[in-house]
């Protein structure tokens, strides 16, 4: 149709409707743009920078930048994937990510994205931050070691559950972390429930339903058979 709005993404015409971001339009068209903090159900946070693309030669976050007719967007170029890989390596060294014994392994967006971008090692020195586990809640375990500060739990708890259980706080690379909104700072002292939207929003292995780890065998986990770039139209947890 002559009046259809399109832009070019890696040389391919992508249709969009006014107000859609580049990320939303790409997802609707089934094209994968690597990302961590973006979730289709929530407003863009724009913090992980993994979805950075080049728009008419300039860098921009595809999750926050609105699509414009005729724009030329580079996505899966060697240059951009190289930068994304470096960002991923920084995510891995800033937390304590031990995939071999992590129950989220095979279902983890961070791990699946690292496979997609062929990250072979963390490259940088590990920070080994001290992030104690909060196991106080009867049904939910919080393992902050794996937090990538995407703040999806903050948004989901506030916007969907109406509970405001989580908050981002602190400063600096070792100081910034997720806080629990209770006097004790413990999840058990909030009204958080395993049925909350926030309980199933975490893209990594921080918010975990207790006593369910490793119940799904290897081979049947989300990313075992199909890589993340082929699950663009699949519903995201």
């Amino acid at each position: 149709m002559s009046n259809e709005l399109t832009f070019q993404l890696d040389g391919e015409d992508i249709s969009f409707t006014p107000g859609q971001t580049i990320m939303q339009a790409a997802k609707a068209a089934g094209v994968y743009i690597p990302h961590l903090c973006w979730h289709p159900d929530f407003p863009a946070h724009g913090s992980c920078k993994l979805c950075t693309v080049k728009v008419n030669g300039r860098f921009g976050s595809s999750c926050t930048m609105e699509a414009q007719a005729g724009m030329s967007v580079e996505n899966r170029t060697a240059e951009l994937d190289d930068k994304r890989r470096t960002l991923l390596q920084m995510f891995f060294v800033e937390g304590n990510h031990f995939c071999p014994s992590c129950e989220k392994s095979g279902n983890c967006t961070l791990q699946a994205t690292a496979y997609e971008l062929k990250m072979m090692s963390p490259h940088f020195d590990m920070f080994y931050p001290d992030r104690p586990v909060d196991a106080s809640h009867p049904d939910i375990l919080l393992d902050f070691n794996r937090c990538i500060m995407c703040s999806l739990c903050v948004t989901a708890s506030r916007e969907v559950d109406g509970k405001n259980v989580f908050a981002m706080g602190g400063r600096g690379i070792l100081g910034r972390r997720i806080h629990i909104n209770s006097e004790s700072g413990k999840l058990a002292d909030t009204d958080f429930a395993v049925t909350d939207r926030a309980a199933s929003i975490c893209p990594v292995g921080v918010i975990l339903v207790k006593r369910k780890g490793f119940a799904v065998p290897i081979g049947e986990r989300q990313y075992d058979k199909t890589p993340i770039n082929e699950q663009v139209k699949e519903p995201t947890a």
Binding site: S101, E103, V133, A135, K210, F214, A215, P217
Partner: protein, 502 residues
């Protein structure tokens, strides 16, 4: 048991030969030998010098993560740790009886593990010593040398191990470090296709396992005097035993016998293992020295593993292996059953038993069932014991009301065998090194004694012939008098080549 050669009377006047590292086992192993000016051996110690700390860093972790995490203790027998931890946490969850499918899937996984580990231990790691001779050329004393000189033997070894790995992959999800066993049960059963795939080759595996028993029997017949005497010592022993006295590698009560073969305890409930086993500490090793409490630290050491299991069980519940057990016990008036190298013979009998057990399980329809998990009344603690390839393995956890592990104690097979391996190493040093000029070939005898117990101490050497080895003769004042080094290319500097001052 005497601890002769454990501590020299005047160590300051002696020179020291160190085999460092022997290779990895819960950290690095090292053998030190103290000699006087006439090369007479005065002290021999096997040190485990690296601290692992799994018991500490598992603290605070959720209990369901434990079976997956602690199996990283080992790359050869991770399934044993995976299952011992699962059994301990079954007990913590109050699960007294697994579903038939879960128990049989775990047993299948365990027998697959026994098969691949025993095949690796015998064919890849130990057969070069046995087939070529203890002091043979180091350049060919490895699995590549076996492939060249005995291709049929090597092929059987490699394919037996591969089959075991496939059993593990289909039960645990991966060949190494899988997730199949979870507290309370398993997360998968065998599919019809997987079952058919394994059934296809099982009879070939039975035949080859019988051949393997024949190989080690033949080696004993050919080298009877040497094999019987090599590192020989008398020892107490311990293993798990089924209620009817049969060998059971997955579950049972503890059976122990003293140095004269008299019962110390039998069918002992392992959930209170600390009533009968203590753990002694020595200043020169990070590895503890377990002992039978009734005999005390001086006389209470014991050995575990294939030799203890095969000689202490009343029978093996699969026919071919039981026949081989009888032949082993009867051989030369029972001489092989007390020999350190008898471990290899017993190991091959167990491999045959494992393959026979896999065959039986594959013909059992429960293996494809769908009832995978059981529940029970939660307890504070759990103890899981299993017979790992190298011997009895104990996992013990306490879990708090938040599901976090607050205490862990692991007594692994190598630890049970610590004193026994030290004794074997001393016997070999006394037999072969006392009063003679030391060479690489003679030092290999020391490693052969360790390998009879534990390939974890030798995997780097014989897997690819790449174990870096440094042997230094150190004077009483600490100066290096002579040294030899071996890197991944073989022996590169021999004794007598004077070290350049640094």
């Amino acid at each position: 048991m005497t601890f002769e050669l454990e501590t020299a009377k005047s160590p300051e006047t002696l020179r020291r030969v160190a085999i460092d590292p022997v290779s990895r086992v819960e950290g690095h192993g090292k053998v030190t030998i103290l000699l006087d000016d006439n090369n007479k051996v005065h002290q021999v110690r096997l040190h485990i010098v690296e601290f692992r700390g799994f018991e500490k860093f598992i603290q605070g972790r959720p209990y369901w993560e434990v079976p997956v995490m602690v199996q990283r203790l080992c790359g050869i027998c991770p399934v044993s740790h995976h299952l011992a931890a699962s059994k301990a946490l079954d007990m913590m969850l109050g699960v007294k009886q697994l579903t038939p499918t879960a128990e049989k899937m775990r047993r299948l996984m365990h027998y697959g593990q026994m098969l691949q580990s025993h095949a690796l231990h015998f064919f890849h790691l130990s057969s070069p010593d046995l087939l070529f001779g203890f002091g043979s050329d180091v350049a060919t004393r490895n699995i590549v040398g076996v492939v060249a000189a005995h291709p049929e033997v090597a092929k059987k070894g490699v394919l037996l191990r591969k089959y075991g790995q496939e059993v593990i992959r289909m039960t645990a999800g991966k060949r190494v470090h899988g997730t199949g066993s979870i507290p309370g049960g398993v997360n998968k059963s065998l599919s019809t296709e997987e079952r058919a795939e394994l059934l296809k080759d099982i009879y070939q595996m039975v035949a080859w396992s019988r051949d393997a028993v024949g190989i080690i029997r033949g080696l004993f017949e050919q080298n009877l005097t040497q094999y019987n005497a090599f590192g020989r010592f008398r020892s107490a022993g311990m293993c798990l035993i089924r209620a009817d006295g049969a060998m059971d590698l997955y579950h049972g009560g503890l059976r122990a016998r003293d140095i004269d073969g008299k019962p110390l305890f039998d069918h002992f409930d392992y959930s209170r293992y600390w009533d009968v086993i203590g753990e002694d500490v020595k200043p020169w090793s990070y590895m503890k020295f377990p002992f039978f409490k009734s005999l005390g630290t001086e006389d209470g050491s014991y050995r575990v593993g294939p030799l203890s299991r095969v000689t202490m069980c009343d029978h093996i519940p699969t026919p071919l292996a039981d026949k081989e057990r009888e032949a082993f016990l009867a051989f030369d008036g029972g001489s092989a059953a007390g020999a350190t190298l008898g471990y290899h013979w017993a190991r091959m009998i167990e491999m045959l038993h494992s393959v026979e057990s896999i065959k039986d399980l594959l013909h059992d329809d429960d293996i494809t069932g769908h009832d995978l998990m059981a529940t029970g009344e939660r307890q504070e603690r759990g103890v899981g014991v299993i017979e790992a390839p190298r011997g009895t393995l104990i996992h013990h956890y306490r879990v708090d009301e938040n599901d976090q592990v607050i205490r862990a104690n692991l007594i692994v097979s190598t630890t049970h065998n610590n004193q026994a391996m030290n004794t074997a190493v001393r016997e070999v040093a006394k037999q072969y090194l006392d009063g003679v000029e030391i060479t690489e070939g003679l030092l290999n005898h020391v490693e052969i004694a360790i390998r009879a117990f534990d390939p974890c101490l030798s995997c780097a050497t014989h897997a690819l012939g790449q174990m870096p080895l440094e042997i230094a003769i150190v004077g009483a004042d600490g100066t290096v008098l002579d040294e030899a080094t071996r890197d991944h290319r073989g022996l590169t500097r021999e004794f007598g080549e004077v070290r350049e001052p640094s």
